[in-house]
Amino acid sequence: MIKRTLFFGNPAYLSTKNEQLIVSFPDDQPDKTVPIEDIGMVVLENPQITITNGLMGKLVNNKVALVNCNGQHLPDGLLLPLHGHSEQTERIRHQINASQPLRKNLWAQTITAKIQNQGALLAERDIPIQKLRHLAKSVQSGDTGNNEAQAAAYYWQHIFDLPDFNREQKGLPPNNLLNYGYAILRGIIARALVSSGMLPTLGIWHRNKYNAYCLADDIMEPYRPFVDKVVRHMVETKDQIDELDIHLKRELLTIPALDVKIDGQKSPLMVAASRTTNSLFECFAGISRKIIYPEYG
């Protein structure tokens, strides 16, 4: 079932009673309750939010991704349970013991899926994509030819109707929208990985020692174009995108509910993420050879 996303941008006191999350407001507004088991993601984005430890414990037990944001309103923390799955220890062992050739193969599959999705997104605008098609077909094990970067260079040049767009962490808008959207996506994927009993820390490709979510960053690659689509839509329809206001965030927070096509079926992105992470585990355990990724279009 599709889980709910709660976003807190105003002062609030969050506590728990009867397995419900209770939101109390500083003014005289009546309290609101939300069943904790229905929640998939909580975003805390105001310095004046108080949250009880009892509530955090219940959220973690229900595998909710709890994201907190810094003064710039950008997500900077993610709280996930240590015991995401009943077979966690065994599953992590499979993950750690995955052989180098298997990892390289999985990475090649991931990049192929990513480039295909990027291509499909560009094709919607009648931009020629032979180059991407070719790159997607010729991905080698471990992406030794670095097709990912070649595809990205072409993709970012053409995705927006903005002449000097550069995809950079601290670049000009809509980079801010992309950063926010990817942070949400990362939370969804990390949550799915944990609930499938894997460690989001140990990647198949990303291995930067300063990155705590390497595997999430690996697995989210083919999902990025779905965020890009939302952002492109916003770039085209919104008057101002320089400042991330509540309206822009509202749109970006619909990402978990986006419909994607996975394995021939339509499914919300958040549900698809769990399918992907389960198929990833099956690859680690030697049950299957293929990660299931959503296809764009």
Binding site: M1, I2, R4, L6, F7, G9, N18, R250, T254, D259
Partner: protein, 115 residues
């Protein structure tokens, strides 16, 4: 975004589960059973609509089935319990009054909520 984008949560697919009950409260034991039944409803995310009528919003038929099953599992040994599902569309057509004043009804929870 196109229309189908939000179709998953439309008014005809999302449901309200209503639980009506009359439980004996003659003896201390009966009252204990009755209050534990009520407590379990609250734990499961139901909220009080009227005394002995509790309701819960469910985003899909599958989700409603989960909660109906839980209510059935916790049925008290004695007393009368009714469980009913209506679509959000039907729920939205209900008219509510406090005295003669029109009252607002509970809105369904959205997939995304901003506080």
């Amino acid at each position: 975004m196109d229309e189908s984008f939000y179709s998953r949560l439309n008014q005809y697919r999302s449901l309200w589960v209503l639980v009506f009950f009359d439980l004996p409260t003659e003896t201390k034991k009966d009252r204990k059973i009755a209050s534990s039944f009520r407590k379990k409803l609250l734990d499961d995310g139901f909220s009080m609509f009227q005394f002995s009528i509790y309701m819960r919003f469910c985003a899909s038929r599958e989700n409603a089935d989960v909660h109906i099953k839980r209510v059935k599992k916790n049925l008290p040994p004695k007393g009368k319990v009714g469980i009913m599902c209506i679509t959000d569309k039907q729920f939205g057509m209900m008219e509510l009054f406090y005295g003669t004043k029109v009252a607002e009804k509970e809105t369904p929870s959205q997939q995304l909520e901003l506080f």
